[in-house]
Amino acid sequence: MGSRASRLLREEEIEEIKKETGFSHSQITRLYSRFTSLDKGENGTLSREDFQRIPELAINPLGDRIINAFFPEGEDQVNFRGFMRTLAHFRPIEDNEKNKNTSATEPLNSRTNKLLFAFRLYDLDRDDKISRDELLQVLRMMVGVNISDEQLGSIADRTIQEADTNGDSCISFNEFIKVLEKVDVEQKMSIRFLH
């Protein structure tokens, strides 16, 4: 299985992905085999249904939001490249990357990009603001039914009020960054990809 997968993936493609995402060669081939095993239609792209077939995602409260994050706006297919691009957000920041000058484009796994990923999970309509309603939806997904809608509403109000500095009753990305200033995002939004 693994060997077939790597045969299908051309060397130059691997190189490009490597450059863009920072994954190592072996990580890319490993993830490619995962990609093909998810790809039931065997057409080189994943659809939402492909993701939804992963059983654990059905019991993840944010499962569908995260699936959505894999798809560029307006599309419902994602190829391996896009798949890797999304996963690259979760690559830990390595030592040598930290010291690298920021002249080049920011790597996908930078702190800002990690935060942006989280921000997009809230921001459904992609207007770069988290409105009260969007917040309420996420809250509703993450808390159990034992909290009433009224309580949830006031939680949302309060959350916005805490973060909102310019008084527009929305949380902009800058405000979002500000609130999470002290959170160790680098660690909390990273997983270890097998080599």
Binding site: D149, I155, E162, A163
Partner: protein
Amino acid sequence: MATSWLLKLFLCVFLMACGGLSLPSEEAETQNTQRDTGTGSSSNATGDGGHGAVAIAALRIVTWKWHHITAPYLVALWILVAWLCKLIIESNHHVTNVIPESVLLICFGFMLGGMIWGADKVQTFTLTPTVFFYFLLPQVILDAGYHMPNKLFFTNLGAILVYAVIGTCWNAASLGLSLWGCHMGGLMGDLDIGLLQYLLFGSLMAAVDPVAVIAVFEQVQVNGVLFIIVFGESLLNDGVTVVLFNVFDGFVSLGGSQIDAAEIVKGIVSFFVVAFGGSLVGIAFGLLISLLTRFTKNIQIIEPGFIFVMGYLSYLTAEMLSLSAILSTVFCGVLCQKYVRANMHEHSVQTVKYAMKVFANGSETIIFVFLGISAIDKVIWVWNTGFILLTVFFVFVYRFIGVFFLTWILNRYRLVPLEFIDQVIMSYGGLRGAVAYGLAVMLDENKIKEKNLMVCTTLIVVYCTVIWQGITMKPLVTWLKVKRAEVNELTLLEKMTNKMFNHTLVAIEDISGQIGHNYLRSKWKYFEEKWMSRILMKPSARKKQDEVFNVFHQLNLKDAMEYVAEAERRGSLEFIRKESVVINFRKKFESEYSEDMPDMRANMSNGHRATSTTRERIPSVSVEMHKHTMKAMTEAEAVNAHHLLDQHLYKSRNQHRHGFSRSDFIINKDEKEVQEIFKRTMKNRMDSFQSAKMGVSPKTVIKHTKNEHQRKMPKGKSISQTKLCYSCDEDFEFSEGDSTSGYDLPYPSFPMRDSRPGGGIENSAFVSDLNPTDSLQTPDWLAEGELDSSMVAPSLRGQASPPSSPIEMRRLGLLRISTRSTDTKQMNNDQLPLPPTPPPPPPPSGHM
């Protein structure tokens, strides 16, 4: 000679009882019996088989009464003296800022020891291993386990174990072998110490001491990961130390020739037995405690005592089975903390917390003072420059080498590598302390001829590390710019986003097909929710588990406290007693606020003077409440205040159905959360599937499963309808606060109302913008509340938190306006006759 024996006996008895005394006072009865048995056994165990005690008692029959009282009297006196030392030290903050408390305590110990020495010409009070290991240490360890930051601990468990196991073995072996090598090289002169004895010495010196680490690191406040690694190591290496010490002690007794492969294998096996056995005993006791607290509802007074007794028993049980007692107690504390906090009454939880701190801190103080006292003893001071200096040198150097080497290996596997600076601090934090000293004193003089040299060297190493490294730690941390611990201000968005991160990571692991930390954590969480919580937690407590809501609750309490304090300042606390409905007090508050708004600034600048004068005359206030709040305000720790307030607010909430409490849920959560999420997800998928079929874009707003919810929160189509209505309304203008966010304007701010797009009256939002002080008119939610008494109060801050600064006030004003734009319309519909400018409310008495 007889006097010295007598005194030694007293000391033992006194210190024994000291341990007994420092257990919780709620347990008076149990404790008494325990102390009795404790003293009884001590006279048997220590006083040379007890016959000495009998002889002395017979001789001193005249002074029988004093004799009778001496032991507990001395115990109490010594505790008092030790704590007074701490009091003196803590009252000089400019000194403790430079020199850590533990160092000063040791110095006080030197002084006290000098006094005793001067009086008796012999050191009568020393830290004996029995007292230290059975009575002083358990409390410190139990506290450490019970207050362990679990998540941090378990995420770094791998690293901690590596340092604790391999690091400690390395320290022991390298120190022992190097000293032996130097001995062979002739650097130490004539010493009667063999290789095995060196290794024994190395093993007792190897362990980093939890007491010293807590004392020093608590003052430095380094970041969490760094702290937990050093601290966790110091706790978990006990298993290794115990094994190494016992094994080498056994080897020394056996003699070099008798040691064969089988013995060594036995030693290795005993390591696993001691470490895992100890942990298992702890886990068993932790489960027992959790289970027990499920049923202690009716004996709330002594409820907290169970934690202490069971924790202590877990220590003693492990000790009895010759397993690692420290590991046992740590795991007991770690395991039970969650369930204990959920099961017990909040008062008991607070009691446990504070009592634990009292005992741990008290013991720690006594330990350090006695470490100092023990030094002033001529008997143990055997000087051997080579041996002592080399030991200090090797301890220091091998710690650095070990940490750097292990970190180098670990960093290849760690998600976030430990930086160079962190490694320096970790090495530097390798403090040795009372555990090493206790073990050294336990050495058998018959087997090890140079015991006193070893004790003396141990003491010097302890002083070197605690005093020298303790003093220099803070400047070093500042100089190296080590990441400090961040002050944890809890905000809802942070909490939410943290949870979101967790879910996201699990999902990404699922998608990328890896089994990692997060995967395991989510599995554990699932297991815990399904089994552990079910068995160990009260059903009522289980329902209350929700982090986001807990934060919200805490914040609300804080607000409430501020609010009461603020209201009290103006002498308007009667609302607590008034049997009127919630509206009254809200209205009152609102009116007062609007009235005072112009005064606020003046008030602020007047500061405390105004406060104190107004506080003097509040005749109408319920005295009890007043007292409580005053007390609460003086408390530095808000938690305490939360509690006092908690009670009162709950009460008023029950009267007024003021439901921001989490114990007030109507819906009960019998279904499993997982099922809930699953159903929701499936429903969403069905919806999006259907909508996709109907030709609508799949990326619609995610729908909510509950119909009523949908009704309450019009979305999608209804939004556009509402919007349409608004844009039709010619008179409508955006208020200042809304101008930037026209988008979310049509959303009704409080979901319990239907948005009724009203007819074209003049725009109330605009009016209220012009009149920021206009708030006597009953706000819409209050009007609603009149109709619906079961209404749930939204966040206090959301509607009427006392603004503490003009800026905040302005912001609040805007917010309030902007979030109720639709409702103000409706309100004006209902209350047309209300004049736009309210008549000035009566000025509150506080400002007369």
